[in-house]
Symmetry: C2
Subunit: 563 residues, 2 copies
């Protein structure tokens, strides 16, 4: 990637660039000190690239002006909505000395239409902000959130084609009507003829070629505004959990999930984690138990599973809709999943009981008698550890579109320091985590195939296998592979990278491609599809001839950028 390192010809040239940018946004919003350069480049990945500066525009016209300056100075700009894409690259460019453009000050909720169930927002609007807005204004609409930070951008995740849990969990599919700043500075409203179109935020196809997709997972434009469809508050909501104790049942469960989803019984995006990924949600990594190895032995893992009463695979999902329909759907779930594992349902009442109990149990721990009584109750209602019991109401909220940090905490699994009480920031806090997410057809046999590929590779590189099968549409899962590493160990960092590349290579050879890419996947993007790479290069060259916008992001690099 050295051909796109930005090397300034002289220190004074960088100074002139900074001056030109300050003239646009003011000096408070151009952060170019050594300290700030380091801070903005911190990442959970084993490697990062130090930026030249970070800039925080407050408006579309400022974004346009920044692009113009970048073109004049031939200095690449990497846009981020809020830059919390931990595990995939955070605020990092693929090369040193880029301009990091952060859109978090552009955080207006421009419109919420309750009848037509959509919002129009800017990229700086966070999950927490949108949810708070809906609740505060008593709007009968739910958003879909990810299980990452409440501070994450709604649009950022959507243009990156991320997923949540509810029926509105395919975030890109629920965008409708984009406003984009093109690399040349032009503003484009997608969806056809839209100077005054009434259906800009209700009918995404518009007329003529449908171009929204060009601005997702791409470096072809900066989305500065978009419509987001919201879910009318359902009459009823229930969470269901499903535990597979015998791995042999996994393929049948995958098949059952496909059938239930194709039949419209399951309308959400179920997540099913293996026991190791579940451990990351409950405790910090037990370094002390791995002895002389780089990893926990099967025996140790088995002991931990017993200690926490963890099944091989744990799934959660939600039922949304009328009470009566939920009742019928529950029956279908019981019929299909019941024989394969343990299925349990939680409605608002049951969750409130769990919530109250968990609080009481914790508080009573200082009083022996109360604690003894609470333990007795606990052993009756559930043999689960208290951390798991505490987690459930948090996940319940996420399934209702209310973001929280409960699952994000797992990023601290291998940190030597525990997560702070709130405002988690795995990159700033020096956590080590990489994600890799190949897709597979929703067939039990394919689930077996992919596990047979990835598990030995984890073993080969002395890491514990960590995976989550997520149903992203009735015909497809992704298997989210987590690589947790100790960021203070150079050896683990190195092995994490080789594990990642080994997984990536073998998965591609076998036909399993990712639904989104982290930075370490970009270099070999489209290595198997030269004609597709060529097509995108052609597009990029026509829209961004100077290759100023995020060169190499979901694209081959072609041009040398010198500066």
């Amino acid at each position: 990637m050295s051909n796109i390192e930005t090397a300034f010809k002289s220190p004074s040239e960088r100074e002139r660039l900074i001056e030109a940018l300050i003239a646009i946004v003011g000096e408070d919003f151009v952060l170019s000190s050594e300290d700030m350069r380091q801070k903005h480049s911190m990442d959970t990945l084993p490697e990062n690239k130090i930026c030249s500066l970070a800039i925080y525009p407050s408006s579309t016209s400022e974004v346009q002006a920044i692009l113009k300056v970048a073109r004049d100075f031939r200095c690449p700009v990497w846009p981020f909505s809020r830059g919390n894409n931990w595990g995939y690259g955070t605020k990092n460019a693929l090369h040193e000395n880029a301009i990091i453009l952060i859109l978090e000050r552009m955080n207006r909720i421009i419109e919420v239409n309750e009848k037509l169930a959509y919002a129009v927002v800017e990229p700086g609007v966070s999950q927490k902000q949108l949810n708070d807005y809906l609740k505060k204004n008593k709007l009968k609409l739910w958003m879909d959130c990810t299980d990452s930070t409440p501070n994450g951008s709604v649009l950022g995740n959507s243009v990156e084609r991320g997923y949540g849990y509810t029926p509105y969990g395919d975030h890109f599919a629920h965008l409708c009507g984009l406003e984009v700043v093109l690399p040349n500075g032009d503003i484009l409203k997608t969806g056809g003829e839209h100077s005054n179109a009434k259906t800009w935020n209700t009918f995404k196809w518009g007329s003529g070629p449908f171009i929204d997709g060009l601005f997702s997972q791409s470096n072809l434009g900066i989305v500065v505004k978009a419509g987001v469809w919201l879910m009318p508050e359902p009459e009823d909501f229930q969470l269901f959990s499903f535990e597979i104790n015998d791995s042999k049942n996994l393929p049948a469960a995958i098949d059952a999930l496909r059938e239930l989803s194709l039949d419209g019984i399951i309308q959400c995006h179920t997540h099913m984690v293996n026991s190791f990924q579940m451990m990351s949600l409950l405790d910090s990594y037990p370094y002390e138990k791995r002895g002389d190895n780089h990893y926990l032995s099967e025996t140790t893992l088995s002991e931990i599973r017993s200690q926490f009463h963890l099944p091989e695979w744990s799934l959660i999902g939600g039922l949304y809709g009328s009470k009566k329909i939920a009742k019928i759907r529950k029956k279908s779930l019981k019929n299909k999943l019941g024989p394969l594992g343990t299925l349990e349902f939680f409605d608002e009442n049951k969750i409130n009981f769990v919530r109250r109990f968990a609080k009481f149990y914790e508080n009573s721990s200082r009083n022996q008698l109360l604690f003894f009584l609470a333990s007795l109750v606990k052993s009756v209602i559930s043999p689960k550890p208290i951390k798991l019991i505490k987690l459930l109401p948090e996940i319940f909220d996420i399934l209702k579109g209310i973001p929280n940090e409960s699952i994000l905490a797992s990023a601290y699994f291998k940190s030597k320091t525990p997560p702070p009480a709130q405002e988690l920031n795995p990159a700033q806090d020096g956590c080590g985590i990489m994600w890799l997410a190949p897709t597979l057809p929703a067939l039990g046999s394919e689930a077996e195939t992919i596990l047979n590929i990835v598990k030995p590779i984890y073993q080969k590189h002395s890491f514990e296998f960590s995976g989550c099968f997520t149903l992203i549409n009735p015909r497809t899962f992704f298997l989210l592979l987590g690589i947790f590493f100790d960021p203070s160990s150079n050896d683990e960092k190195k092995r994490a990278i080789t594990l990642y590349q080994d997984l990536l290579f073998n998965l591609k050879e076998a036909g399993f491609y990712q639904y989104r890419l982290g930075l370490p996947s970009m270099e070999n993007f489209l290595s198997h599809s030269p004609e597709h790479a060529n097509f995108l290069l052609n597009l990029k060259a026509s829209l961004d001839p100077e290759n100023i916008l995020a060169p190499g992001r979901y694209a081959k690099l072609t041009k040398e950028l010198s500066k």
Copy 2:
């Protein structure tokens, strides 16, 4: 458009072109006689353009070779899957002397995957062919069909972003994985890295920019293969009809349909026609009743409505899924729609009774006694005319994805000759029909607004208003406006064009844009969005610098094509 008329420098040049094309597909499949040129240019629109020739390739490599020849001769190529896009342009180009490329010989059903519920087909595969295949092979999958001809192309309608009736009725949304011949002859598989991707036909977003949309409603490539998602055969299916007798209830009904759709009670694409459009389904146009006018008076229309027992608006839709869930959904429909009109449900048994009765009634008409008895039964079960009773089972089938010609027959409304018994072809049979389909937000108030715009324009140009509100997603309808004209009357043809242009102009001014365009709309496409037009021109120039592929289709014309 004269700047893109293809004028051959000499007759011998055309001869050389024909020879070059015959060398690719053989002489049986290059149709260049005067007779064939006329035949391929026949249309239901008031104006058409005579093509230079029609060519029928049998393979992707032949399509590539044809494009090469076209580039060499600088002669535009207009591709059509099967070319039955009646009311929007049939097989017509925007200019004379184009090469008409018809893909109907490329009609392989390459794969049907029953578990993952998809088919991979070529553009020549017709609706009838795919449905027959599913039925013959006893696959428990339903396709979605349009209410146009069974001979229509599955892919053609999908890349044109057409709609059917079932939950799979948004045809473009249900495409997954395209193979495209680009204007330069390259073959591109969309969806990311797909030389060997296992999820090519299950996960449409792939990785990197999502580009499928570029090949819908466009002139940027020729789709020669695609995955099409199919619906698993539902446990239960019922048709529902809903009649609004008092127009005042229309806005409330539109609002109710939005709410039912947002709540997932309605999952299909309901169609609601006004009484005049309904008449076109039942009888031929009563020229004799319009006296000295160009149109039927309100009194006459009212008489016909009484005669046929037609409500102001007639809606049909389907319920798909389990019997138990259907029961609950029926109740919701009754609650919301019941107070606004007449709601009726038809399951398989009831439809079979209707089917048998209609047959018996017709057959008995030759026997006075039986006919008297049948009439007695008919007056008890329904006051509807027998044609409407006969239509219902046909619509029932369409809602199950089984294509038939029952609704297509309405294209013959103003023909002086009735439709043939089968193999309807409105273009060849000289029918006069144009469609115009603006979208509107799914709000009763917007339905009122759009009717207040279009009705006076119909009146101004002495045509009867013909409209169908179709629910295309929970937040959007289109209003399909029909312009039926007498193709033997030059006056009607002229007025049909001015009506069309007047509607188009006023709808655009008011912010109502079409979901797809007929040829007469192309010239002013993006007139209100210069920056969008510019963006597409840029794309077109980078993919098709010679402007060989369907110049002017969903795009501004820029280059002069001389020959």
